[in-house]
Amino acid sequence: MPDYIPHTEAETAEMLSFIGLSSLDELFDAVPAALRLAGGLDLPGGLSEPDTSAEMGRLAGANAAADLICFAGAGAYDHEIPAAVRSLASRSEFVTAYTPYQPEVAQGVLQALFEYQTLISRIAGVPVANASLYDGASACVEAVNLAVAATRRETVWVSQGVHPNWRAVMRTFAAGTGHDLVEIPLIDGVTAWPGGDIGANTTSGEEPAAVLLQYPNYLGCLEDVEAAVATARRRGALVLVAFDPVAAGLLRTPGSYGADVVVGEGQPFGTPMSFGGPYLGLFACTMEHVRRLPGRLVGETLDTEGRRAYVTTLRTREQDIRREKASSNVCTNQTLIAVTCAIQLAWLGTSGLRELALRCARGTRYAREALLAIDGVEPLVSAPVLREFAVRLPVAADVVVERLAEEGFLAGAPLAGEEYGDGLLVAVTERRTRAQIDDYVAAFEKAVR
């Protein structure tokens, strides 16, 4: 049992005697006897390191999904992670540091975060980005909180094109903040923002603090961002855009459309699918809102000798200083994933990001055309897509997923019926070869027969 504790028995005895105790038990004299756990924890004894590895290997081996050729997306993508990124991001200085509270010995993490912020700000098209939030969902929640605080309005219009899980999380947290989240439905894959009177659209009858949309949206469709911006501007609301940072290789930046806050899921840059976490909440905004920014922000400054240095800044927004009036409660964030994201984005670089998006779009076009050529497979909606698309099937989606798993493919992510109608969401990344797609389509054809 490796408990990783260095103390030998002799040393323990020596230390105890120094503090005037004669047993380890006495260390816990402050714990009332009635609360003391008799008989210790009801847990098995520790395993040796090799036995632990074996058990972890057994569990890992019981996930057939991990071996499938992946056509599922829905917010979690199977992108290439180069060896250089894996190697750098696993350097123990990045992995085993705490939050950079002592900047003099944390320039490594701080500069990496400063570069991350710059990279995210560039691809989001707005001038400031924070040092990460938990995931796409929490970034949406924080964007809503920021908009509510900025406008002092309580209602937010949320497109149903936003990831259903993210909306679920927003609803959960709205129970605490009391914000009114009004969902705006899609028509044929694109959000139908209400044009006229708002009364009918909200419970409160209030103008919205913000509109939130995803671009491309959950169904893979290219939203009409200009229409959303126009809607928001007309109502004095902020524009919150959840973007796909991979799609940003080709698409206009949210900032260029006029977004006030840009959020997203950063997993595609360097993080494996990991059964859903840890992922990376991207959060960027205009300078106007920087003092309401949730989470940590790194800024450039100087040291006492005039050298360039980095430090977390505008700390008065944060929970440890402002406490109940903080802009957010976030403390531990996803720094290592942000650093990984920065490394991967730098590895991609200007041309690689574009190439990545292009390759995803090409694979998507190729797979989509082939799938739609199958009898009974129909497009769910007709709006243009980039790197993901939804199809309606003659067979239940989860049955298709099950059948394709037997052929070695993860067919896609089944759509929850209520909102979008039954169907399957299919994503094609740059990792998918033509041969893989052809085999997938052939298997698909058999599966829907």
Partner: protein
Amino acid sequence: MTPDTLRPGGPIAHGAPGGRASSAPVVGRDTEPTIFELSAPGRTAWSFRTTEVPEWSADELVPAAHLHEGELGVTEISERDLVGHFTRLTHRQYSVDLGAYPLGSCTMKYNPKLCDEAAGLPGLANAHPTAPAALTQGWLALLGDLADRLCRITGMHSATLQPPAGAAGELTGLLLMRAWHADKGRPRTKVIIPDSAHGTNPASVTLGGYETITVPSDARGCVDVAALRERLDDDVAGIMLTNPNTLGLFEEDIAEIAAAVHEVGGLLYYDGANLNAILGVTRPGDMGFDIVHMNLHKTFAVPHGGGGPGAGPVAVSERLAPYLPGPRPVQGADGQWSWETPERSIGRVHSWHGNALALARAYSYILATGGDGLAHVAQAAVLNANWLRHRLRGVYDLPYDRPNMHEFVASTAGLKRRHGLKAVDVAKRLLEEGFHAPTVYFPLIVEEALMIEPTETESPQTMEALAAALERIAVEAADGGGVAATAPRSTPVARVDEARAARRLIPTWDARD
């Protein structure tokens, strides 16, 4: 010194030096250029596989109105320079793997490499979160068993693994409280926290839709039970406590507190940041807590990653189980695992299933350590902290000089009055001695606080070296000279101007003028 700008002697028109290591402390103290300075037009590192997919152009694939105009500048760097740059950055970074990190409240223990490898297994890392349960039985079993073990450790009934950090766990817990009270027909409005509480507590209370009511600590550093009673009424939804509290002291009146809060219909929330102190000794459930969050990145050896990711599971007593977020893994009579959302669930609190790979790391740590091992962890952590407090007696003020748990709070208040030695100066000077600084100026109720948590993985020799270093700093201050006030000098940068950063905000490379 910023790096040389390129001399005209050579023909190279663009950019900063790439392969130069002068910012790596093994050779120098220069500034490391940003990846934007290292960028050169047209340089690349990327490499994608051959796919044979038709090479449609962007115009053919995307409607013109959506296409980005011109070039979206990222940066342009070779793999060699990428590796050089980030490797040099790691040499400018302190970490647990380099040395002791006695940062109070953060439990910066050594994280076994075993757990890194476990979390990197392809069978875990390559699973898509939407893959059906039948194809991810290993993951569901891991998560299910982890939840079960965490319940055994905390003495609770059921747990959610979704919250990705402690603060997220807190808010989840408060929403559970809210749902519970709402179901009882009366949402209530107030949550009580001690004045020694961590900042995330009041911030979460606000986001949970409650008002924060502060209860003072008494002279012994614990919740003032009389003052607490004054604040209790049937508008109180609950109380949030850390036990041991942020002074490292065990709240001995916890049973009485629990009874009093329960009496007015309130719930008790346990902030598990300090759980390391009591593993195998006592359990929040035994103390009367209804809701518990754990920081797996403190207690269960998930490395901090420079600020995250962590994992903040929340465990609850039986009556609150129906409110937990979902879906949760449950095992059927046939041994098969499936997802199930509790009946009255407050809903999701994470995009997927929580920080799964961090959960896997913690699971592997718990497997390896086992029940006895966890008890041993608490013993050694508390032993180290008490030894160090004794050792520093007479060197620093000890505002609460009585048996502590896994950490204790010292103060430079006296040294400041006599010799001008501030807590921040001790922190900076200690870096030069080869130790990370303790947490400073927290908890807020201690003047010039130094909050010291050695953890169990540091040896007695390290304890002595740390004590000697802290002693040296105090002696220097008494001798005059103000060395500490100008520390650190041996680090890659000297003391950083935090005020300037806020005054002249430069949050990105592009914001420089």
